[in-house]
Amino acid sequence: MSGTTAPAGSYRLPFGGRASRRLWTFLSQPERILGIVLALILGGLVLVPLFELVRETVTVQPYDRAYLPKAQVGDFTLFHYERVFAGRLSWAIFYKPFFNSLVTALGATIICLTIGCSLAWLVVRTNIPFRNTLHTLVMIPYMLPSWVLALAWITFFKNDRIGGAMGAFAYFFGTQPPDWIAYGPIPIVICLSLHYYVYSYLSVSSSLVSVDSQLEEAGAMSGLSRLKQILLITAPLLLPAIGSAVVMTFIRVIGSFGTPAVLGMPVRYYVLPTQIYAAMGTRNAGDGFLLALVLVLLACLFIYVNQRMIGVRKSFVTLSGKGFRNKEIDLGFWRWPIFALLMVLMVAAVAFPLVLLVLQSLIKTAGNYSLSNLTLHYWIGGGGEGVDQLQPALVNNGNVLDATWNSLKLSFMTAMTTGIFGFLIGYVVVRTRGTLTSKSLEMVAFLPYIFPALAFGAIYIGMFSHPVGPFPALYGTFALLVLICSVKTLPFTARTGIAALLQIDKSLEEAARIQGIGWFRRMVKIIVPIAAGGLLSGMLLSLISIMRELSLIVLLVTPSNNVLAGVIYNYQSQDMPQLVGVATTLLVALVIGINIVIRVLTRNVKVAAA
């Protein structure tokens, strides 16, 4: 794990001068020490929960009493394994949903990659109109909670199968759309793609800015068409970024619950996360954790494959200290048509669901879209007929405002913490590339990504209810929330950090080293600013996800620490769609606002000559 490279000889003389000097040499390489420290920390924060998870799958749970009348809760058993993988129900519980998951995840990943890479190329390399604005705009679909898009889809395409108000499509075209358009795998794939392409976009675009355009130009001089330049030169250089985008997207998509639940349920299209949710919801933790474990293993497999494919060999430094250029490609005639196409995409993925959301916050009774049925009551008060007078408007709804403040605080602190850790991990992984430390750290840093959020929170209660070493008992404190959120979103920053650092030539750091600039200052002054683009996008992803995170922290929050997502959840469970609309719109507006502010603030940060 620690990747100690000191040869065996040093162990023979544990206290000899030679060994201690070797140790000193070893310690003089900051990436090594860091590697060990990070491995220890992460081991505690990630592997312990993983171990707990595995343990729970092999013990008898209270729920199992019906099946195992003789067993005591807590006994060792392989019952869950048998049940999930080999039992009578395995087809229903595992194999079919697993297959469905694979299909939707693969489909969505492919589409995400296509959209994300094309967008990245357009925004980074071409003179497409409003480049800077586009850069923020294309991120917005991810800022909406994923189910918003699914709901929008249902609202638009729903047919008479689920009853209620007519779908917009049926309303406008007079025919009911077929089930396969309205529900099931196709809409799931489309909705997930429109949401998660942002990973590919961010990962690839931040990597693309550090690819010297002269490499493409050399391709042009060799007579390669633009497409060939991209395929033969740019794409391979982006391989680490693409690889990490694939991993992130696939794993995230295969683990996503909301969209398949909304769009799959009406036609009984189940996927693994819906099965996990079902099992956990009925407190059948054994099955639930086991299914989750399958996802965890799948994630490991993916990272492993990714590591093998991209490997040490094929990751190339593209940002050297010499003659770097980043040139704009002229799209010529296609400039505006492509822009128009993008706008259509944005309308579908952003404007449409957003409008629906706002509408939801304004409508007194569902299904009635007449002007008289609209009210601003839930935003600014004022009452009026048919509104719930007891619900204070947003402007003086202390509940929502406090929660908003908490969410902001939590997501900012998380983004900072996870940013720092992600960077450090990226640094260690890249600088010790090829060693065991590197590989395992990369893997471990990615595990929380797929770890079932609720279980994560539950296990953390046990881990932090007592003082651990020098740390006081964190349970019930805000610090624990920040900690768990940071660990959970670590994969974002770790991956983007790795991808960004892979492209920075060693000589840039060496030049500073030679000048006697210590490790810390080197990081602060040189490596971090150069990697900032990638890191920042990772931190934004963390921030966005934490802004709307609930399951992870629900068991750990105290009422005074309630977050915006918690408020939305409460309103949903109390069936108050307008307030759900208000709070969600607020959340989305905040996230978008924060993004814009950060973009503006960091515009002057010169990143990789972008």
Partner: protein, 374 residues
């Protein structure tokens, strides 16, 4: 016939006007070198010819066809122009081994595998990298990388070759050999070549035409001889020649029909037929033209030896003449001179005169031919 024509090309980077207006015609099959101080726009010019950079205005024609026109907005992209280019920063593809770096263009152009193989082997042996085809660029030394870039050009065999300091990281021996290779390539393909270098020997020995630039403007364009002996202005005179030309403040005087140039009180009588307006001038004398005497002679200036610096086949002598530093060059390897006080004479027929605004004072006909014959 001109193969490459730039008419009134301008280019700016943001607010920085890199090329304020460039006119350049390059005849087919010729070898043209762009020379000029660092940052004068050589790379920019090459990149515009290649189509890697959009000029702001003007027109570029290659082989009779317009590839860029600021008026009509037409623009032929680089991959359609069929040029060869060596980048100043090599631009090797880090994801490909040396062999792929060299042959990519060929295999893309559907050239038969066998031919590709032969050309690869040939190009590698010409740049003396045989055996390294399996390495990645990051596993090569700086000079090796540069040679891969050269090999890429050699293998591609385009009819217009653009090279941006292709030999800057090579040692003298290799450089001489590579120079020969590039020159041979140029001849074999009858290619029109635009070459950027900061090495004067390279420029003087290889070029048919040298173009001297400064701040994006052409200062002079001509054969190596013209550039060296008849620099259009002080800038060119100072820029060309290593060690640098010596400049003296002088004055043209006339006594009867005979002109003379006085320098530091020394009257250098001019040759027959010399004519120039009277008044102050700047006089340029190349170091190798200064003669050093160990005892006083007529028409000589007293000088003091400051230091002696052998450069191999020659030795630089740094002298102080009336407080002014003067460099002389002698064709031997010397570590020191026998005496500290020497006398120098200036060659009557090798003085170049510049007027107050720095332009060369055109010599009379007689003088012109005289220096040609020298």
């Amino acid at each position: 016939m001109s193969e490459i024509i730039l008419s009134n090309i301008t280019k700016s980077y943001g607010s920085h006007l890199a090329i304020p207006g460039l006119d350049l015609e390059i005849p087919k099959g010729s070898f043209v070198t762009l020379l000029g101080p660092s940052g004068c726009g050589k790379t920019t010019t090459l990149r515009m010819i290649a189509g890697l950079e959009h000029p702001a205005s003007g027109e570029i024609r290659l082989a009779g066809k317009s590839v860029y026109s600021g008026d009509t907005g037409s623009f032929v992209p680089p991959e359609k122009r069929g040029l060869g280019f060596i980048f100043q920063s090599y631009a090797l593809w880090p994801n490909m081994k040396v062999d792929r770096n060299i042959t990519l263009a060929l295999s893309e152009a559907k050239i038969p595998t066998q031919t590709v193989k032969t050309r690869l082997a040939e190009a590698l042996s010409k740049v003396q990298l045989t055996g390294l085809e399996g390495r990645y660029p990051s596993e090569l030394s700086g000079g090796q990388q540069q040679r891969v870039a050269v090999a890429r050009l050699i293998a591609a065999r385009n009819s217009i070759l653009l090279m941006d300091e292709p030999l800057s990281n090579l040692d003298a021996k290799l450089r001489t050999e590579m120079r020969t290779e590039l020159k041979r390539l140029h001849r074999e393909l009858d290619a029109t070549t635009v070459y950027v270098t900061h090495d004067q020997v390279e420029a003087l020995t290889m070029s048919d035409i040298i173009v001297v630039m400064r701040d994006g403007l052409i200062q002079q364009q001509g054969s190596p001889y013209e550039i060296y002996h008849n620099p259009a202005n002080l800038f060119v005179a100072e820029f060309i020649g290593d060690p640098k030309i010596n400049l003296f403040q002088g004055e043209v005087t006339k006594s009867g029909a005979d002109f003379a140039v006085s320098i530091h009180g020394l009257n250098v009588p001019s040759r027959r037929g010399f004519e120039a307006p009277q008044g102050p001038v700047t006089v340029g004398v190349r170091p190798e033209d200064i003669e050093i005497h160990h005892e006083p002679v007529a028409h000589a200036l007293a000088a003091e030896v400051d230091f002696v610096q052998p450069t191999g086949s020659q030795t630089l002598i740094s002298l102080i003449v009336k407080g002014q530093r003067v460099t002389a060059l002698i064709p031997r390897f010397e570590m020191s001179l026998p005496t500290k006080n020497v006398w120098i004479t200036l060659p009557v027929d090798r003085l170049t005169l510049f007027d107050a605004s720095g332009n060369r004072i055109a010599p009379s006909c007689g003088e012109q031919s005289a220096s040609h014959a020298a």
